[in-house]
Amino acid sequence: MKLLLVEDDRELRVTLREALAVEGYDVLTAASLADARAQLAHAGPIDAVLLDLGLPDGDGEELLQALRRERSTPLIVISARQVEGQKIRLLDAGADDYLVKPFGIGELLARLRVALRHRGTVAQPALTLYRRAGLEVDLAAHRVKRDGADVRLTPTEFKLLARLVRQAGQVVTHRRLLADVWGPDDTEQTHYLRLYMAQLRAKLEADPAEPRVLLTEPGVGYRIAEPG
């Protein structure tokens, strides 16, 4: 697995590179936008990109846009900027995930695993059978079970659940969920989401007040927990 790590701070770059190398990743590094562009153009196939935003010669966001015009290489933003609006914009622009500095290596590895699992699978779901905490979602058969018993979902509930499962482990923004489930005219109706997520949790979670599967990312979107 070959990764490109774009980070201008030397200490953090070295720390992350070593930690990732211990996990068996082959890590290329870049300290600027120009550096990163050169690596992407000449280093052959790259499996995933870790991208810092504040780079000395520009904003990492430019690289995300340029990359997304050509390929669907998984990309995780690592940024010191804790701004919900920006997080949403980058996720909508095609970032697979957004980690705010400082983060633990465990968290980075988990997000990276998820992003790599979804790589190249924009059209086709990475998995059609989702299992976690007694919940089983079979996308192909349109069937949902909890602790082995069939659960009846309305068509909208199923569409919403299926959309989250397609990106299991990754946050899906409100706007994206609304566009994909209700249509492009309803992207502002976040209260629909609140209602349907509450219904889904009531049917699928052991304790809807403390969900383990259908997780909320406050102000950003929802995430269905990684399968397993």
Binding site: Q82, T154, Q189, T190, R194, A209, T216, P218, G219
Partner: protein, 428 residues
């Protein structure tokens, strides 16, 4: 006193030189004229003194512009207009009804600080006379006597008019100086509060930094002599204290953002209390003591209009404080329910409670700029509670502290409810 009462004396001289009677008459007239002149001078002087007194005591001299205009109008029998510049940055104040031409003249006169128009050395051919309101080193406005033409003021009247104008100018200047002194004082106050806040922030940063430094340097210098369990404990402590520093940084930034002038951009939306609390619980459960938190949410709560990220920060801070400052085994309750037209979020602990004298101050102890008081503040009264209150108020809510019956605190956030939006036709 109208200008045109100036008596033409010359004919009397001619007649008076012919006869003794006329001579006596002339003497009489002369005396009469000197008397009149003395009277007029006294009158002008009195008027000046009175206006001077008024200006001396005036807190806002510009409020007396109409008195100045009236005095000049009765002196010249002409319409008067004025421009005043009471403070350096602000807009000019215009009095009377100057047309565009007169306004330009007033500005020019105020800018150059010299009298312009008939009877002066500048623009003597103009029909209007312009007099500057002179302060100590610059003019702070000007007046114009409209259409005075060739019948310029008599020298004593001219001097009188200029003296009145200068009294206004000096008063305006005095006010400017006072304003500037007050602003400088306020700025110094802000500066000293900010310095105290910076001192308080760095104090709060030092505690976790000290733990990190201690643990990391122990690993660095004693690493080989430590057992694996000891090494893990030190590493865990570094991670925990880094998380604490991160929260402190987030809080400091948020406080700066919400405290900045202008309305901070909130990202309000229809949010579910259950989801906000669910996400907060998920975060707190990662802590070793996170299981102590018990949540109860009223299932009938409607959707809330609020900023989910801010709400998360508010709950995280309150729960963190409650866990940190209460006994290791005690439960921390997180309760959300409807009270009238408000949603009530309460975080309740069984800690030592807070002294009544501090119940209100605990939210701004950090911002007071009083370092002695800051050193004696109750536990937890740092940037965390200050940002909680700022978050509560930014969303139109209220954060308060209530002592609990059998010891401990209840931090309570009340958020006004709004009429919830229409939902799609269910079930779909």
């Amino acid at each position: 006193m109208p200008l045109r009462t100036v008596t033409p004396f010359l004919p009397w001289i001619a007649i008076g030189s012919l006869t003794g009677l006329a001579w006596a008459g002339w003497r009489l007239r002369g005396a009469w004229a000197s008397l009149r002149a003395a009277q007029r001078a006294a009158q002008l002087e009195r008027a000046q003194r009175e206006f001077g007194d008024l200006m001396r005591d005036a807190e806002r001299p510009e409020a007396h512009a109409h008195e100045l205009l009236k005095a000049l109008e009765s002196l010249a029998g002409l319409p008067v207009a004025a421009v005043l510049r009471p403070s350096a940055g602000e807009q000019e104040l215009v009095f009377g009804e100057p047309d565009a031409n007169a306004l330009a003249g007033l500005k020019l006169c105020a800018d150059c600080g010299r009298a312009l128009g008939p009877g002066t050395d500048h623009h003597a051919g103009e029909p209007d006379l312009y007099l500057p309101l002179r302060g100590r080193d610059a003019a702070l406005g000007a007046v114009t006597l409209r259409g005075i033409g060739t019948e310029a003021l008599a020298p004593d009247q001219f001097a009188h008019a200029q003296a009145l104008c200068d009294q206004m100018g000096l008063a305006l200047q005095r006010r400017r100086v006072q304003d500037e002194a007050r602003q400088a004082g306020e700025l110094a106050q802000v500066q000293s509060t900010r310095n105290a806040m910076l001192a308080a922030i760095s104090h709060d940063y030092r505690t976790p930094l000290a733990t990190i430094m201690g643990s990391a340097s122990s690993l660095q210098t004693q690493g080989e002599r430590l057992t694996p369990a000891q090494r893990k404990e030190l590493a865990d402590r570094i991670v925990d204290e880094t998380a604490r520093l991160t929260r402190l940084t987030d809080n400091t930034l948020q406080l700066a953002r919400l405290g900045a002038p202008g309305v901070a951009a909130l990202r309000c939306d229809w949010e579910s209390a259950e989801e906000i609390v669910g996400a907060a619980l998920r975060r707190v459960r990662r802590r070793p003591d996170g299981e102590r938190v018990k949540a109860r949410i009223d299932p009938e709560l409607p959707l809330l209009w609020c900023d989910a990220a801010l709400m998360s920060q508010l709950l995280d801070n309150l729960v963190d404080n409650a866990l940190k400052y209460s006994p290791a085994e005690a439960t921390v309750e997180l309760v959300v329910r409807r009270v009238g037209e408000e949603a009530l979020f309460a975080v309740r602990d069984r800690g030592p409670g807070i002294d009544p004298a501090w119940r209100e101050r605990v939210f701004d102890a950090f911002q007071r700029g009083d370092l002695a008081a800051f050193a004696q503040r109750p536990s937890g009264a740092g940037v965390g509670l200050a940002v909680c209150r700022a978050i509560a108020e930014a969303q139109g809510g209220v954060l308060s502290l209530r002592p609990r019956g059998h010891g401990g605190c209840s931090f309570e956030f009340r958020l006004p409810l709004r009429a919830a939006p229409e939902l799609p036709e269910a079930p779909i």
